[in-house]
Symmetry: C2
Subunit: 171 residues, 2 copies
DNA sequence: CATTTTATGTCAGTCTTGTTGACATTTCAA
DNA sequence: TTGAAATGTCAACAAGACTGACATAAAATG
């Protein structure tokens, strides 16, 4: 059928990568439906305890970067301080998050999960990881590498840096 | 090294796939950051015209399945009819979407994009596809296959069926 | 030391998008 | 004819984002 570049068995060079509109649409829809699945399990746990996705995100990154400042969290989450503050306030009131005044700079507030906070984080993480693990197992290790490669390439420039910084220590 | 099932060249059996917590967390965060990038470009176009993501989703799937009924769209999008109706009403008022009474079953309403609607769809699709295309090009064809494999495995059972049904005609 | 900038918190109001519940209409099907 | 299905609509509510304005404490800078 194709008159150009016959007998290309494995990977064509990037310039010759065939990307039909249909393939791209499929990718877009895959993102949409997969993200629904991705959030479904934690959402259920959160609802039981009267929290939302916004709380999950805060908890996740406070766990990931213990002692992070409010400003840093603001940047990672990409929301306004008013929006984050509403979430943080309830987490602090409920004693899931603990605040420490900065030693060097006493304007800064450093955020940590309490034991209770870690409990919830673990529950959420387990639920979400379970699905991720199943998906990984089902797709195989090569697919996993490709999955992350595409996702990373899809991020905004500065967020990719943030993402990389979060993980480069343990690479 | 492996005592069981030797000489497995490509994918190790699922039980032997090493998945550290760190790898799983990385995948979770990749999804989070990538989804931000995924929606960033269309969001900007939508804001200029006074629409939101909900409008985008409706437009996308009406374009994808022209003549779809309200009920079908409801199922694909996974929202309540009241929520969808608010969005549809404005799209119909603005003449981006056209409604046809069903020929066979006159209770059904079939939805189509008008020329204006297709224009917006194209603009949104171009923006989103451009990023997807760049990501695909950057990651390479093998990565793309893996990307879709993992995403499909991450979907809820019934949504995966919906997703598959949307594309199987042109497979 | 005075001033400005930074980090944080807070109040008030708005918007989008989701929800539930109740009810009406038209049309098909039994 | 009666009931179920597909759709639309009203009202009320909640989460979570936004803007704008303002307050405080502490650091940094002149």
């Amino acid at each position: 059928m194709m008159s150009t570049t016959p007998t290309r068995s494995t990977a064509p060079p990037s310039a010759l990568l065939y990307l039909t509109d249909e393939q791209l649409r499929q990718g877009i829809e895959a993102m949409f439906f997969a993200y629904r699945g991705f959030t479904a399990d934690p959402d259920q746990i959160l609802e039981e305890r009267g929290y939302g996705r916004a709380h999950h995100r805060a908890i996740h990154f406070i766990n990931c970067v213990p002692g992070t400042t409010v400003n840093n969290l603001l940047h990672i989450l990409g929301v306004t301080k008013q929006s984050l503050n509403r979430v943080l306030r309830s987490l602090i009131e409920d004693k899931l998050v603990r605040v420490e005044v900065g030693q060097k700079d006493r304007r800064e507030r450093h955020l940590f999960l309490t034991a209770t906070g870690k409990e919830l984080e673990t529950a959420l993480s387990n639920a979400q990881s379970a699905r991720m693990r199943d998906a990984y197992r089902h797709a195989g290790p090569d697919a996993v590498a490709g999955f992350r490669k595409v996702l990373e390439a899809m991020m905004d420039e500065d967020l990719r840096k943030t993402y990389t910084a979060l993980h480069e220590r343990e690479a």
